[in-house]
């Protein structure tokens, strides 16, 4: 029962992150939203592994944590090297 409450909390967290990704006034705001979204997804996969009883999903969480770090670092490098100079805000 408490696991379904956990799932509800994580879905609410995903919706709040999507709100920030859609709303964020600048590119780094959206990247912060995407980074937190990937962390929430890693937690979600772990909770689903507990619910379904399959250990193999923990490996999926490992791979997703790796890929999320690479994505955030790539976005940070892109922003530091100039970002999108055609969009002056």
């Amino acid at each position: 029962m408490i696991l379904w409450l956990t799932v509800a909390l994580l879905i609410a967290a995903v919706l709040l992150c999507l709100y920030r990704v859609a709303r964020g006034p600048s590119l780094p705001d959206r990247v912060v939203g995407l980074d937190l979204l990937s962390s929430v997804t890693v937690g979600f996969i772990a909770v689903y592994a507990v619910i379904s009883g399959e250990i193999i999903y923990i490996d999926v969480a490992t791979v997703l944590a790796l890929i999320a770090f690479l994505g955030t670092v790539a976005f940070a490098y892109f922003i530091e090297k100039g970002g999108m100079p055609w969009r002056k805000t």
């Binding site: 939203g33 969480a61 922003i79």
Partner: protein, 131 residues
Amino acid sequence: MAQNISALLIFLGALFMFIAALGVARMPDLFTRMHSSTKSATLGVGLIMLGAAFHFGEIGMTMRVIAIIVFVLLTAPVAAHMLGRAAYFAGVPLWEGTLSDALRGHYDRRTHRLISDEKVEENLPEGDVAV
């Protein structure tokens, strides 16, 4: 007993993640949003993974969980630091209620070097935001 500990840890982790997402959605500024998101998300992932390890209770599972927690603890501050540094160079505006900006004038915005003892003049005007 182990099931109760597992459920409690997973619920606490999800609660921390919800608080992090709430801060990301509600905070007024990029840097306060990062302050809210990175630490709480790291703690939330760690707690959920510990709860999963308590639930399964196998040695291979526990090893994978420890690997994920160590990896997240190592990489989350690095990613947050790179993103905050890049956003500061890009000129993301601070909140209008900000009292002090300790880095102001200490970064050369052309060469991205940190000068600690003497101030350099701002090379870019304030409104030149390219993000």
